[in-house]
């Protein structure tokens, strides 16, 4: 296993990006009593004047952010991914429908969040936010890419939802490679013609490990970090389908409706090839260590390798 000590958590990247925006007086940060967890506390410490505490009241936060946005501010509002869902209808009707630029960040997403248990583990956020017209939906894998993508949001003219994760994972990016990241464009980490593994978030590392072990068996995989789930990089996906003829998706999310769902939708209508989805199999999580849970739910590198072989054999 790659040691997480040298790694970073995507939520830290979010905090670092907010901190870098303190010089822009249009940027405002909204919190719902989870600033220490989402890392918006880093901005608060530097610029309390532009940080709004709204207490444990997520629904209220959504429309406060929308109101500030229409008055010329760029709001970054955060809570846990799961508790953002408490304000889903507020986001739908009050933000996405009028296309108001509010940047929502949901931290502690996925079962990777661990011992807090199923009530805290959002495994449906990417799916539900993706259904909203006008929304951009992202899920970066590490702190460096999360920072780059958060900074890019300052100039993004649509509402967005970004999921970040609680725990550190090995970094897949350097400052230089992260500088190439563009919202809506998948990032290729490894190239091979036998199978394409399209991953996001904390499962990108597992996908890279899977590609290594597949290579030892003579199977060469392309690995893509699909940090943006919407708008989806369909051009790249169709390209991969044509080149590899078999696709595996991997995400810390339900296999229903998230990255796997989005890729499958694209593939069935554009260029049908076998698709295998790695993710949470239509069940809730439970308390446990992150790695223990990944193992129990069949979301580790070896599960991705097996899925790759299944996809290839179905070709």
């Amino acid at each position: 296993m790659s040691a997480p000590s040298g790694g970073g958590a995507s939520r830290d990247g979010y905090g670092a990006a907010l901190l870098e925006m303190v010089g822009d007086d249009r940027v405002v940060v909204l919190e719902a009593d989870l600033g220490k967890s989402t890392k918006s506390c880093m901005f608060r410490a530097e610029k309390p004047s532009h940080t709004v505490s709204l207490g444990i009241a997520e629904q209220n936060m959504m429309l406060v952010a929308a109101g500030m946005s229409t008055s010329g501010y760029i709001p970054f509002a955060s809570t846990f991914a799961i508790f953002s869902e408490r304000g889903f209808e507020q986001v739908r009707n009050g933000i996405a429908r009028p296309n108001i630029v509010v940047h929502l960040c949901g931290s502690h997403g996925g079962i990777h969040t661990g011992t807090d248990g199923s009530s805290a583990q959002s495994i449906e956020d990417l799916a539900i936010y993706r259904t909203l017209p006008n929304m951009t939906v992202m899920h970066p894998c590490d702190d460096i890419s999360a920072k780059a993508l958060t900074l890019a949001l300052r100039h993004h003219e649509r509402p967005s939802y970004m999921r970040t994760a609680r725990n550190k994972v090995s970094r897949a990016y350097t400052e230089e490679s992260a500088a190439q990241l563009r919202i809506g464009k998948g990032h290729i980490h490894r190239t091979g013609d036998d199978v394409a593994i399209i991953a996001c978030g904390v499962l990108l590392n597992e996908a890279l490990d899977a590609a290594e072990s597949l290579s030892q068996q003579g199977i060469e995989a392309t690995v893509v970090d699909m940090h943006t789930i919407k708008p989806l990089d369909t051009e790249l996906i169709v390209d991969l389908a044509k080149r590899c003829g078999a696709i595996v998706t991997a995400e810390d999310h339900s296999i229903i409706g998230g990255l796997g769902g989005a890729v499958a939708e694209c593939i069935v209508s554009e260029y049908p090839v076998p698709v295998e989805r790695i993710g949470v199999q239509d069940r809730f999580g439970e308390s446990g260590g992150s790695d223990e849970l990944l193992e129990m739910l069949h979301m580790k590198a070896n599960d991705i390798s097996k899925a790759a072989q299944r996809a290839i054999s179905r070709r």
């Binding site: 009593d33 709204l54 444990i56 009241a57 807090d116 248990g117 199923s118 009530s119 446990g288 129990m296």
Partner: protein, 276 residues
Amino acid sequence: MAERGMGLDIAELEMMAKRCRRNIVRMVYGIGAGHPGGSLSAIDMLTGLYGHRLRVDTNDSTWGNRDRFIMSKGHASPGVYSILHERGFLTESDLWTYRKLGGSCQGHVDMKWCPGVDFSAGSLGMGLSFGIGCALAATLDDSDRTAWVMLGDGELQEGQIWEGVMAAVHHEIGNLNVIVDRNGIQNDDFCESQMRMFDVAEKFAAFGWAVMEIDGHDMQQVVNAIDWADQVIDGPACIVMHTIKGKGVSYMENNPKFHGAAPNEEQFNLAMEELS
């Protein structure tokens, strides 16, 4: 037919609360995570409820006519598990499954995993509505069973709480009682800096609830308040208990850091000394 409470006097209840405090700190220290602060502020009331009042059947945790206890601030799960152990729903070794894979003691109280838990919580603001449903069903059933809901003071910031507060009065739900753990602290900091709550008792009273304020660490007051709430039958009753978050462990008391953090080894040993 199960009895009310466990037939314990005030001194025995106080002893039980102390044993619970030790187990709360042990659970959180054992896994290196969890929520000691709001468990320690709530534990005297939990002891009063289970030791003095609630009618439950440890041989049949799903007995339909049991009183319902709804821990809406589900992160205070070590408090609930420690009292469920005292009451006989959990063995001591069950407690050490706290936050572990496959354990009955999940990170947040969960009715699917733990016998004696009536509500799966963890997302704040939901328990009062659930309690109203339980109480309305009891009335339809012509049953004398009751519903008791514990809320955090930070939790009161959720809009859904006030939807429930209105509904309980509108429907004159006399078999429903709420306890607010007024410890003055939430996740990031003191309520005073996150979202000021002002006079909580006044707020409930303004909505039409019967309200009593007590010192939530005085067992005699706790027991009296429970008996008082039981007598309020023409509408919902609210006990606002003034408490100290982290009560019983010096360095945790009134310290926002121990909302959701475990003690280190040295701190753990000190806590065990203080709670001996």
